[in-house]
């Protein structure tokens, strides 16, 4: 009975999230537009300056930034908005476990963001054909662990944002760009090719997106398998 309630609550929360977006075409356009145009812009810049190996980074960045944006805008601040309209109290007074609600929100967010990620991937590879040298098992595992880690952070932030009330939107805006920059969504921000000093790299490594992006680049463009990126995977699992 408990597990059935858990699964029903999870599925229902995921369904609401997915349908809310797919019932509103403008939201789909916004979700897709921002990462798509950023990736294309950076791809063109890298291509025109002869940095062809970086073009793939831009496309990969476009895929992952969609998920990061979703974590911040739709996951972290969700409970705050739910509280404003009275939905949060309904969750609290129902027997549904909060873990089911949170995981349902996360899975719904992944489904909502998938079309944007797929479009950026397909269009990027069709327009720019960046050089790939993938280790697919490592890519798949890293991708899954990065998403799990990002959405787990979203769950944690959603509780934190409840305490900050109306500041939530400002916190989102304040976090979005700096985290995108130092986590190296579009370029390597840790390791030998990083433009940042060591201290910034250490700080950047605390963000799961940084570790995930670094591991994905290694697995997708430099053929590094599980034996090379296992430390990344361990860190992501711990998050």
């Amino acid at each position: 009975m408990e597990s059935r309630l858990w699964l029903r609550a999870l599925y229902a929360r995921m369904w609401v999230r997915v349908m809310s977006v797919f019932n509103e075409p403008l939201w789909i356009a916004v979700n897709i537009g921002f990462p798509f145009f950023s990736s294309v812009g950076l791809g063109l810049l890298y291509s025109s300056t002869g940095l062809r190996s970086f073009v793939g980074f831009a496309i990969l960045g476009g895929i992952m930034i969609s998920f990061w944006g979703n974590v911040l805008w739709s996951m972290a601040s969700q409970f705050y908005w739910d509280k404003q309209v009275g939905l949060f109290e309904i969750y609290l007074t129902s027997p549904a476990p909060m873990t089911a609600i949170l995981i349902g929100m996360s899975l719904g967010g992944v489904v909502n963001t998938a079309p944007s990620a797929v479009l950026v991937a397909v269009a990027g590879w069709l327009f720019f054909a960046p050089p790939l040298s993938p280790s697919w098992l490592a890519v798949g595992l890293t991708f899954a662990l990065t998403l799990a880690s990002l959405y787990a952070m979203g769950m944690m932030l959603s509780s934190l944002y409840l305490a900050y009330g109306r500041e939530a939107e400002s916190i989102n805006e304040a976090l979005h760009e700096p985290v995108s920059l130092i986590s190296g969504v579009y370029f390597p921000s840790i390791g030998n090719f990083s433009p940042f000093p060591f201290s910034v790299q250490v700080f950047a490594s605390l963000i799961p997106l940084t570790i995930g992006m670094d591991a994905l680049r290694r697995a997708l463009f430099f053929s590094q398998g599980l034996s090379s990126i296992y430390l990344h995977l361990i860190v992501l699992s711990m998050r």
Binding site: M1, R8, V16, G86, Y91
Partner: protein, 333 residues
Amino acid sequence: MLSHEPEVRVEVQNLRREFDSKERKVVALNGVSLKVREGEIFGVLGPNGAGKTTLIRILSTLLLPTSGVARVMGFDVASEPEKVRAVINMASGAERAGYDYISARGNLWFFSQLYGLPSEVAKARIKALSQLLGLDDYLDRKFYMLSTGYRQRVTIARAFINDPKIVFLDEPTIGLDVMTAMSIREFLIKEARENGRTIFLATHNMAEVDTICNRVAIIDRGRILTSDTPTNLKRSLGAPALVMEVSPLPVNLAFLGAVEGVKGFTTSVDEERGLARVQVVVESEECVRRILAGVPASGMRLVSSWRQQTTLEEVFVSLVGRGFVEREHEVGE
């Protein structure tokens, strides 16, 4: 109608809740005790800030009491909240609880899943509730496209979606048009009478309490002042209230405090007509005569006067000495 002795579903003993603010400690509930039975519509009536919402929040497991005991269906709200949540539901007139881009039907299905209802059961309940609440033609509209009245009908349907034993409602008809409010009240009466549901209603709408509640507790500053059926409460006052229109403004009503038999009074000013309407709760006919004689002696002119059928507001005035509005101003200060 019930064929057995109605069971006690809500039992509160000496409940106290304090809130710490920067300036001072606020006592929202101070030694509240009550019992509510199966099939009863129980109203908690009081001005804003009296403690009604705090009481509902404790009983629905959203807040912990500072001290005292509160049991719902025999389960302690503080130590067994999961068991309480499985048998209750709640709704507020202030909420706008629904996902905008999902239909009313989708929203209701979603909320049913928070209680683990199998989808077929949920669909049948949505159909039954929507018929009772006149929602049939609106079920497939997106939530944001519904009018305030229909959104509130969805909210009420949501509060009954899990077939709860007890439903806590906080000002469920606030801001609604007369017809919608009436239809919701009829629905609540039907649910209590025919399905034995207990409805715990917090409101400051006296007419609503008078119309639908089997019993009412009058609450002020965190204390329950009295509790009985609306009829008995009104009967307890004895004589009907005296209403006077006096001028000129500003009126001096200090003399009322000295008249024997005056239980309390409320005043409202009609600027346009340049007079004040004073509603006085009196003990006896003799008291009325003394008041009417005292008006000219206090330098005022009696424009008109009449007797008014007793309402619950007069009961409140007789207990507190002031009306709801005056009390809310005092609490605000």
